[in-house]
Amino acid sequence: MRQTHKGQPVAEWCASPNAMRLNKLLRMSRRDVLLGGIGLSVASTTGAVLAADTAPATPNNEDLSGFMQVSQRLTDRDTLNPQIGAALYANIVHANADRKDKLNALHALLEREKFTTASAFAHAAEKSDPKLKDVIHEILTGWYRGIADGKVVVYRSALMFDITKDAVYPKTYATGGPFYWTSKPPEVARPKGHPALSASALVIEPT
């Protein structure tokens, strides 16, 4: 099909929503996007295209550093990928106007109390301001599921796949060889830890 539809270029109306977004993105100054949005370049290395109708603003170094410190504490991890962090931060802040303040509040609390575990930090944060729970959920959803602002920021590099890589593959990325699935996967002991935050309703999206 070569014709256009309602003035749209063929590539747009024949393409997927993601390709349409990408087309828009590429029509912005390509140089600006690549140089200015670290998060955008991350996406291409992970096979995910950052699906932004308007690209989130680039964080300044101080904000990003605070976000990374908060993230490391909430994941109990010493190292996290800074490029993914920049993309997550930009999207979390883009999604909600008050998130910058909430993230700053989390960072200030962490600086003040020097928590040594994620649980202690999260518990204290919710106690100081119940609304901080939502931000903590967003941070964890970002790192573990790779999702922020309702978009896939990373897929294969989401931490949920890192911690299960001895057993399963991210869908569409299996590399176990023929009939790998017949072998015995690792046993997993029943966890003894407790929740740090109050429980929330889990809303499952429709299929």
Binding site: C14, A19, A118, M160, A167, G176, F179, E187, L197, T207
Partner: protein, 545 residues
């Protein structure tokens, strides 16, 4: 495409899914000229794979397949829905999804390639329920095999594991080795229950077949096999094109023309995306446009000669809507780690409830233990429970390795009151009405679902399960059938045993819409077998023409 172009073929097919494309392939290989009109666009696999990877709601089967405005399909199973409008006491149970694109809805099936049981074709005679088909299992057996060879179906040796549908030939490929999780489930069922777990026959390669690779276990059969190890209709499109069939995408058929006697179809008319109208003439016509769109098109073609729609002298076009209604539960097993999600999605089935004398009273069903990667769900659940840091990671591993999901396909019955009509309130950009379906679950199906819940509760107990999450109510399994029902009597059916419409000599229907009952196995192999039988009939008639 210029509208003055003379489009004509021996056989004109509407719809490029497994039914339409496999007929096109058979006919083109026999030297018969074929035009296939597909309402939706042509898109390659890699686009769908990238769409999937970028999809936030990964379990959305429709998500990677955005519809075009001139060939809408349901965006999801939500009620209300902005394309397929369902009403009635069980509206949510008929919120089917399907695709309008080159290759059809098998882009996102799981490859489950069941033959129906002989009893499924004789439900009325054997159990006094529903209807009999106007053909028998034996009539269809050779075409079942032809369909299995076309798709590349793997399955068990009947001498070792008899699935109840007699075979004259072995499966084209050996059965798929089941996952560790399925092995443990099978052991449990064998040791602790009177039931059994069988290998599910699948249109999935256990060796290289038809220039496609062996399954690598990406666990993404639905919504999209990333490597083409699973058959879908697009492969029959490629074969048919190579044999000379002409496929026209973005061609939305809206009118079926007949001769002055109203006995023969003379042409179909289609809109292109800008509503330019085109006419395609032929000797034979096959509507293979999915159960819902096929009935919609017949109704849409109503005119003075056929005020209730084409092929509808019986008034049964759009009636008798059926599906495999589902019961589903997800829970956390208290036993060893299973790690579902290693290998293909659906590989094993409890088949004890597919047939029995109790079918006089309640519908049959089959049970899938779904082998779906649960890491994302486990992560959402663990976060919602309030875990963070190290404890969160422990929870994710535990939940992902212990989550079990069971679901069923429960048999419906043909009820003329369950009916598809053209929406009076909703039209697409071409002015074509959306489909609307009234649905009330037959009591026969409700009783079947109740039985399934008892069985699921037993299974949960056996696995020391906790945290059960029952999918509320009844949910659609996207196996719609019955809208142009088959029968011997033209007064109460739309097509005969060869899928020829009673009203029009040269008009055939190739779709689950002709099913007289819906059985329990996934419908696609039966759709393909019926389509290949239509191709066989057409080849014979054109040879004698």
């Amino acid at each position: 495409m210029p509208s003055e172009e003379n489009l004509s073929a021996d056989v004109v097919i509407v719809g490029s899914g497994v039914a339409g494309s496999s007929i096109a392939n058979e006919l083109a290989r026999a030297g018969i000229s074929v035009i296939v009109l597909e309402a939706g666009p042509r898109v390659d696999r890699q686009h769908f794979v990238e769409n999937f990877r970028n999809l936030e709601n990964k379990p959305s089967y429709q998500g990677p397949f955005p519809a075009v405005p001139w060939a809408r399909h349901p965006p999801d199973q939500q009620t209300p829905n902005d394309y397929l409008h369902t009403t009635g006491p069980n509206a949510e149970a008929y919120q089917q999804v399907y695709l309008r694109m080159m290759g059809g809805t098998t882009w996102h099936w799981a490859g489950c390639a069941w033959r129906y049981l002989p009893s499924d074709f004789e439900l009325k005679t054997r159990y006094g329920q529903g209807r009999d088909w106007a053909l028998t299992y034996d009539d269809l057996e050779p075409f079942y095999y032809q369909a299995e060879v076309m798709m590349g179906v793997c399955g068990p040796d009947p001498a070792v594991e008899d699935l109840g549908s007699p075979r004259k030939q072995p499966y084209p490929m050996d059965a798929l080795p089941i996952s560790y999780a399925a092995q443990q489930f099978r052991k449990l069922i064998q040791e602790k229950t009177p039931w059994r777990v069988v290998h599910e026959p699948q249109a999935r390669n256990t060796r290289p077949y038809d220039s496609r690779p062996t399954c690598e276990g990406h666990n993404n059969c639905m919504p999209i096999c990333p490597i083409g190890a699973m058959y879908n209709g697009s492969y029959s499109v490629y074969h048919a094109e190579a044999a000379g069939a002409k496929f026209i995408p973005n061609a939305v058929v809206y009118k079926i023309e007949r001769d002055s006697a109203n006995k023969r179809v003379t042409a179909v008319q289609y809109f292109d995306p800008d509503k330019g109208s085109h006419r395609v003439t032929g000797k034979y016509f096959v509507i293979a446009a999915h159960c819902i769109e096929t009935a919609k098109l017949l109704l849409l073609s109503a005119d003075e000669q056929s005020p209730d729609g084409v092929a509808n002298s019986s008034g049964h076009v759009g009636r008798n809507m059926m599906d495999h209604t589902g019961v589903q539960v997800t829970f956390i097993s208290g036993d060893q780690a299973l790690w579902p999600g290693r290998g293909p999605l659906e590989t094993n089935v409890i088949d004890n409830f597919r047939d029995g004398n109790w079918r006089t009273d309640r519908g049959a069903y089959l049970v899938h233990m779904v082998d779906d990667n649960q890491v994302d769900l486990a992560t959402q659940l663990a976060i919602s429970k309030g875990y963070v840091g190290r404890e969160l990671e422990e929870q994710i591993r535990y939940l992902a390795s212990h989550t079990v999901r069971l679901f069923s396909h429960n048999e419906a019955l043909p009820d003329p009151n369950n009916r598809l009509t053209l929406s009076k309130d909703h039209k697409d950009i071409l002015g074509i009405p959306h489909p609307e379906v009234y649905y009330k679950l037959p009591e026969y199906t409700v009783r079947s679902c109740e039985h399934t819940r008892y069985v699921f509760r037993d299974l949960i107990k056996l696995m020391h399960g906790t945290d059960e999450q029952w999918t509320p109510g009844y949910f659609p399994q996207d196996h719609p059938a019955g809208s142009t029902i088959m029968g011997t009597d033209p007064k109460d059916s739309v097509v005969d045993g060869h899928c020829r419409t009673h009203d029009h000599d040269n008009l055939f229907i190739a779709s689950s819409s002709v099913f007289s009952t819906v059985g329990t196995g996934n419908i696609t192999l039966t759709v393909a077998a019926l389509a290949l039988r239509v191709a066989d009939t057409l080849k014979k008639e054109l040879a004698h023409a």
